[in-house]
């Protein structure tokens, strides 16, 4: 029984923290987010070996995902991971097209139709489709297809979280190569990656908010000395640490304990999604007016937390999976 990361995992964490902090200072993040330029550091990430999911355990992926959230890096890496987890033989770069236009939020049902291996439908909020060679597309009947990006129409969408470029993908009889197998492990791993990103967002926002509460003075005292503020900070810490605990449990279980892995992944995504949103919301309140400005970076984290909570099943859907398992 040991809840600590191994030395190797800590090394990955340190590398990721340093690498991402150096490559993605706020100016770079803003340039990418506001100008819509693609991420310039993909080649360096490939050199680090991070896109190669087969070489890393789920815990190691979660470590990097947490740092992606912490740094708010606008990297297409999570989208590529998701594609590789669903389709391990994928060559080139990938992304996942899951949500159908007008979806009620159940990620397991799709209205995209299949006829003689040709797919028709409209997928929304597809991350980083501009740099993908292949899209993994979900379709009716729980079927999964690999579709060449050149066979679909990719249109930029207005993303709430501008640091993650989203696209609308139109399939009009696009030829698909059907994938086979059980996708359960992959989808739960993807949900845990999203949770890990939320953990990173929550941890970063908690830290910067506590720092601010120590510096900012009103009525002659640091605002963090008022319990209305300090208790809000304590709550942020509780939820951040709770989210981290449940997320690493899920990541570990996906690698080592198949009996509890899916339940753990649902718990992780539900809790971490809510935690990041709660933490970011509370952080905005503690920051007061300055946190509401475009100039301050807080809104970027706030939007990442909110958007991320709705990718790959939202907290409500994951909670229902937990209820279904227990009731």
């Amino acid at each position: 029984m040991n809840f600590d990361l191994t030395e190797d995992q800590r090394e990955i964490k340190r590398t990721a923290r340093d690498f991402l902090a150096a490559r993605y200072p706020p100016e770079t993040i803003r340039a990418i987010a506001l100008d819509g330029r693609p991420d310039p550091h993909w080649d360096a990430i490939v050199e680090l070996g991070w896109p190669d999911v087969a070489e890393l355990g789920i815990v190691e992926l979660a470590v990097v995902a947490e740092e992606l959230g912490y740094s708010l890096a606008p990297s297409p890496l999570p989208a590529h991971w998701a594609a590789k987890l669903l389709h391990p033989e994928l060559g080139g770069r990938g992304t996942v097209a899951q949500s159908d236009e007008g979806s009620d939020g159940d990620p397991e049902t799709s209205s995209t139709t299949v006829s003689d291996g040709a797919l028709t439908g409209v997928k929304i909020a597809v991350p980083n489709a501009d740099v993908a060679d292949t899209l993994i597309v979900t379709a009716e009947g729980g079927r999964h297809f690999a579709v060449a990006a050149s066979d679909v129409t990719v249109e930029p969408a207005r993303a709430l979280d501008a640091t993650r470029l989203l696209f609308t993908v139109r399939l009009d009889g696009a030829p698909g190569y059907e994938l086979s197998g059980d996708f359960g492990h992959a989808w739960h791993a993807i949900a845990v990656m999203a949770a890990a990103e939320s953990v990173g967002v929550a941890a970063r926002v908690t830290q910067t908010t506590v720092d601010y509460a120590k510096e900012r003075k009103q009525f002659g005292r640091a605002i963090g000395s008022y319990q209305a503020v300090s208790h809000a900070c304590a709550q942020m810490f509780l939820e951040s640490e709770g989210a981290r605990s449940v997320t690493y449990w899920a990541a570990w279980a996906l690698d080592h304990d198949p009996d509890t892995a899916y339940m753990a992944a649902n718990c992780a995504n539900a809790y971490a999604s809510d935690a990041a949103v709660n933490v970011a919301r509370s952080a905005l309140q503690v920051h007061g007016g300055i946190g509401f400005t475009w100039e301050h970076d807080l809104h970027l984290f706030f939007k990442r937390a909110e958007a991320n909570a709705h990718a790959y099943g939202d907290a409500r859907w994951h909670r229902e999976q937990v209820a279904a398992a227990l009731l």
Partner: protein
């Protein structure tokens, strides 16, 4: 990272599980006296096996087990719905305090009767005027010859009516700052200067007592950890209590959760399903925080902030759980039942007893996050 048990821990769990299956005393009888005897018998049985003081060093009658084995014991107890041991405060607070801060003579005198439940222990910390601000307490101990004469009032003293010894925090120095004038005593409850009155709580039961102390006598050799050093002694005890407690509490939440799940099986109400799932998820988070706390405690030798987080979170979860159980009862919620009514009422104290949630938030804000004191 490795969340599996080692082969030795698995063996301990299997041995324990088999032993409980063979020795489980069945359902606890109703009534204060009967239930007390039942729990005392259970503790004695465990003590014969060396498990009453599982983590105590073997030289003091314990099993010298690890915190993880302690956690396994709590989980197996909860799983099998085994009764609690009678002398819970002696086992989790009094004994560990004597082991950590006591003299050899104190260890010789006090430890064995705690394990055998021969002498019960209670805790005299809180006072009517000193709840969260514990260090402001007013009970006075004045040295006269080779004994202290104590006068004051204590409240929320669980098990006082059955106890032989009271872990008493009293002021020995009126001039020192409030945290530095307190001493930790072991007070004999069986003397004329100590009066115990039951305190009836909102459940209608009298689980707690008030303690009226007038010219009670405590010999100097019953000071633990040095005169005027009582705050430090009490705080280490409280921290250890919270770290270990988080585990026991989470195990009990898992049991209550499975009972509630049995009652809610098949419900289609999405609101109820969502609320139940949220509680189940948070119960998992609590369990994992407790595991992380164990990792911290085993590496550093000191309980980490997880103890405070766990106790705080447990209170929230248990209140939410018992509230949900009431909410699904329909009109029969107006009537007292033999299960949830008591738990629903009792849970209100969870965010007050053993450190209010507000105090725990202060601890996290000040000691973990480094925010300035208000």
């Amino acid at each position: 990272m490795d969340l599996t048990l080692s082969p030795a821990e698995e063996e301990f769990r299997d041995t324990l599980r088999a032993w409980i299956a063979e020795n489980h005393p069945g359902r606890e009888p109703e009534g204060d006296e009967a239930s007390f005897q039942f729990r005392r018998d259970w503790q004695r049985k465990l003590n014969e096996r060396g498990w009453a003081g599982l983590t105590w060093p073997t030289e003091y009658g314990g099993a010298g087990a690890t915190q993880i084995e302690q956690a396994i014991l709590f989980e197996e107890f909860a799983r099998s719905r085994a009764p609690q041991m009678a002398n819970v405060l002696g086992l989790t607070m009094g004994g560990p305090t004597v082991i950590a801060h006591g003299t050899d003579a104190q260890k010789e005198r006090f430890l064995a009767p705690i394990l055998s439940a021969e002498e019960m222990w209670c805790q005299g910390f809180s006072e009517p005027e000193s709840g969260s601000d514990l260090a402001s307490l007013k009970t006075r101990a004045v040295l006269q010859g080779d004994e202290y004469v104590v006068t004051g009032q204590k409240v929320w003293t669980t098990f006082a009516h059955r106890s032989k010894w009271c872990m008493l925090l009293a002021r020995t120095n009126q001039d020192a700052p409030k945290h530095r004038g307190l001493t930790y005593f072991l007070m004999d409850m069986e003397q004329p200067g100590v009066e115990v009155r039951p305190l009836v709580q909102i459940t209608g039961e009298a689980e707690f007592n008030e303690l009226f102390i007038e010219d009670a006598r405590i010999p100097v050799e019953n000071v633990v950890g040095g005169v005027d050093n009582g705050w430090r002694v009490a705080i280490t005890t409280l921290m250890h209590e919270r770290a270990g407690l988080a585990f026991a509490l989470q195990a009990r939440v898992q049991v209550a959760l499975s009972e509630l799940a049995d009652e809610l099986k098949g419900t289609t109400d999405p609101v109820i399903r969502q609320r139940f799932a949220q509680i189940a998820i948070e119960a998992n988070v609590l369990r994992l925080l407790a595991y992380r706390g164990l990792t911290t405690a085993m590496k550093s030798g000191e309980p980490g902030p997880e103890g405070s987080l766990g106790k705080w979170m447990w209170a929230d979860i248990n209140q939410a759980l018992t509230t949900l159980a009431m909410d699904v009862k329909g009109p029969s919620a107006q009537l007292v039942d033999d299960k949830w009514t008591y738990r629903f009422l009792r849970a209100r104290a969870n965010s007050i007893e053993g450190g209010t949630t507000e105090i725990l938030k202060n601890i996290v804000a000040e000691r973990v996050l480094g925010l300035p004191r208000g």
